[in-house]
Symmetry: C2
Subunit: 408 residues, 2 copies
């Protein structure tokens, strides 16, 4: 008998019939003798509908009130799921953010969880009830309703699992688990049985969008085993867990990529302290998120500074940067809005030399020019021309032996 | 400067554009220097949509969870209205049932308000904010979400007004106020400037459906002046208040009616103690609401017992009563499913003799046969054949001089 937290996203509870399916799966887990806590999102489309109403009333809706409106989506789902479960003869009780309570800071629309009191849910479990918990929402110290931002239900689930010291937090989604790369690009992409929190963080932020980043951070901080699996079948998925729990580690766990990037280089920047700040401040003031930043070592008193932004921000970022370049006396600004980023991620990289070399050789052997490089302890990212994305992913996936063994 | 509670129903907030209109009206009241608390219902149709989802999952949805689902309707409206107000530059803050809190008993889907803590709202008002309060909802002692049942937002508004000792509780609706009778039947029906709580209770329960009965009871108990008025114009409506505040009182304030009634008479019932209970117990067990009950005084050891039910319950009630009649040895049961009830209501009736006589004479003069009579201190009701309803209302309205003075 285990304590299992299960999380179902918006598409898993998108219709009344799907809610009934979730109820059946929850009931089966309960029938196996487990204590079950279910965390759910709003029915698919509902959050957008609610935000749409708000946006019709204001171009910049008051964020405290936006959370009052948006949080109703999850509240509807918990009530409906509890109704489905009680209709099937199970004891079930729903809990909103304020009823648990899930205490957050007061950063409306992007609040962070501070503390979850596990007692209310524990009482329900002791009472033989299935606890059905609203994801995405909490309250701040003043009792105001907050939401955690898009994808926040994953974080809710992992945080609840941490508060209850649950045996596992199962995240049900529309994929089977975490793959070595995008199966749409590499036919032989392989589902990973286990992956470390650290690798998952790098993969998630790079585009393997199966788990919200903050939920992984939470899992890492509190040591919550996360099981990412499909809500359409009973196959085991991918366990995200501590590095120590993973016996056999490949040097590289996966290949990630993001398209739709754009690259901007400020050429011949006078290399003085504070120059980088001068370039990036106007961008962050304009709410433009900068991803990769590459700065050459200066030997001549001048340096080239390259960064990437999302393609949607390209024109605005170019304009801003051209202004900054004139101000600081840089020579010129050049840009390219057809860029992709390909990354390999792996814990064992730390203790293996030659991984970077292998990446560069592999790409070079296919004639793929590298436009920029950044590395972390467990990740190497290369900027390339977008048209080479699929090819780069495939050759890297193959070079590091990530594919399924050839069958037959 | 006054403290004004305003309540807007579902049709008044049925669309984003209508919510904006409500915001404008609220803002105007604020601009006049008043403290304003707004109580709102769910957007028209929303409660039915939510209950529909629940009913797809269960024929008898768990009522605790039904309230979790249903209460989101009002929560969406308060958020949207607060967004509209802040967008117009006003300080506004929304409050759910748990945030105030509105403490109720635990009778889910039909909870009763026990206590409203006015401090949270008072703090907001002191802070210069317009308080936007969710009607219809509360929490019980365990923190579970409750709802007050259909029309409960009127009660929420009056209860909030009582808790804050507001100067007036304005109920905005789609009619101009309370009329002496149905203007669709009597062209010269007149809007009442004032009416007592007691009269309003009798009129409301008889079919003048502008105010939820329980809100009137609440207003009477706590002495809250209620102003029923139209959300489509600025005309003064009808003030419902204490009898003492009403200077000129007509003998009769209004004529009410209900159609779609059915009458069942058990003939020659042995007049023994407990017989009435024997007849009515099986009906209440079958959830049939009995309205008027008339029992003749027995002089022979036998009595005739007549009662009315809604027409939809007629067949079932006949069947049940026929069974009971055999059991208790009554002679037979006769029924009529084409019955209406016409009533006159007036505080001054208590001190005026001859009112009943005038009613009977007026109906008789038009050849309308009276099939049953019940009276209270301030009301006389007559059962008549349904086809005479409009005629009866018109002649009574005229006989008691309720119409507008003839113009021109």
């Amino acid at each position: 008998m285990a304590l299992i937290v299960q999380k179902y996203g918006g598409t898993s509870v998108g219709t009344v019939e799907k809610i009934r399916n979730v109820a059946r799966r929850v009931a089966r887990t309960r029938d196996q003798g487990n204590d079950v806590v279910v965390v759910v999102s709003a029915m698919a489309g509902e959050t957008n509908r609610l935000l749409g109403l708000a946006n019709q009333l204001s171009e910049m809706p008051n964020e405290r009130e936006l959370d009052v409106v948006a949080s109703t989506g999850e509240q509807v789902t918990i009530g409906l799921l509890a109704i489905a479960l009680t209709d099937m003869g199970y004891k079930a009780k729903s809990f909103t953010g304020f009823q648990i309570p899930v205490l957050t800071d007061s950063a409306f629309v992007k609040a962070r969880i501070r503390k979850i009191d596990g007692d209310t849910i524990r009482d329900a479990l002791k009472n033989g009830e299935i606890a059905v918990v609203a994801g995405f929402q909490g309250i701040d110290e003043t009792g105001a309703i907050t939401t955690l931002g898009r994808g926040g239900s994953d974080t809710s689930a992992v945080a609840v699992a941490a508060a209850l010291s649950a045996d596992v937090c199962e995240i049900y989604t529309d994929v089977d688990g975490v793959y070595t790369t995008d199966p749409n690009i590499c036919e032989d992409a392989k589902k990973l049985d286990k992956i470390s929190f650290e690798e998952m963080l790098e993969l998630a932020s790079l585009g393997a969008k199966v788990l919200q980043i903050r939920s992984v951070e939470f899992g890492m901080k509190y040591g919550v085993r996360i099981h990412v699996r499909s809500s359409f079948n009973d196959n085991p998925g991918t366990i995200v867990t501590k590095e120590e729990e993973i016996m056999e580690t490949a040097v590289v766990s996966g290949v990630a990529y993001t398209k739709n990037e754009a690259k901007i280089t400020t050429v011949k920047v006078p290399d003085r302290p504070g120059i980088a700040a001068k370039i990036f401040k106007p961008l962050s003031d304009a709410n433009i998120v900068v991803d990769v930043i590459v700065q050459n070592v200066s030997v001549t008193g001048y340096t080239d500074l390259t960064f990437t932004v999302g393609r949607g921000d390209y024109k605005k970022a170019m304009m801003i940067t051209e202004g900054t370049a004139r101000e600081i006396g840089a020579e010129r600004v050049v840009g390219d809005d057809k860029i992709a980023k390909v990354s390999i991620v792996g814990m064992a990289m730390r203790s293996h030399s030659g991984v970077a070399t292998k990446v560069f050789e592999t790409l070079a052997s296919e004639g793929i020019n590298i436009l920029g490089i950044t590395t972390s302890e467990i990740k190497i990212s290369c900027l390339i021309e977008e048209k080479y994305t699929e090819l780069a992913v495939r050759v890297l996936h193959n070079a590091f032996g990530l594919g399924k063994p050839a069958s037959g």
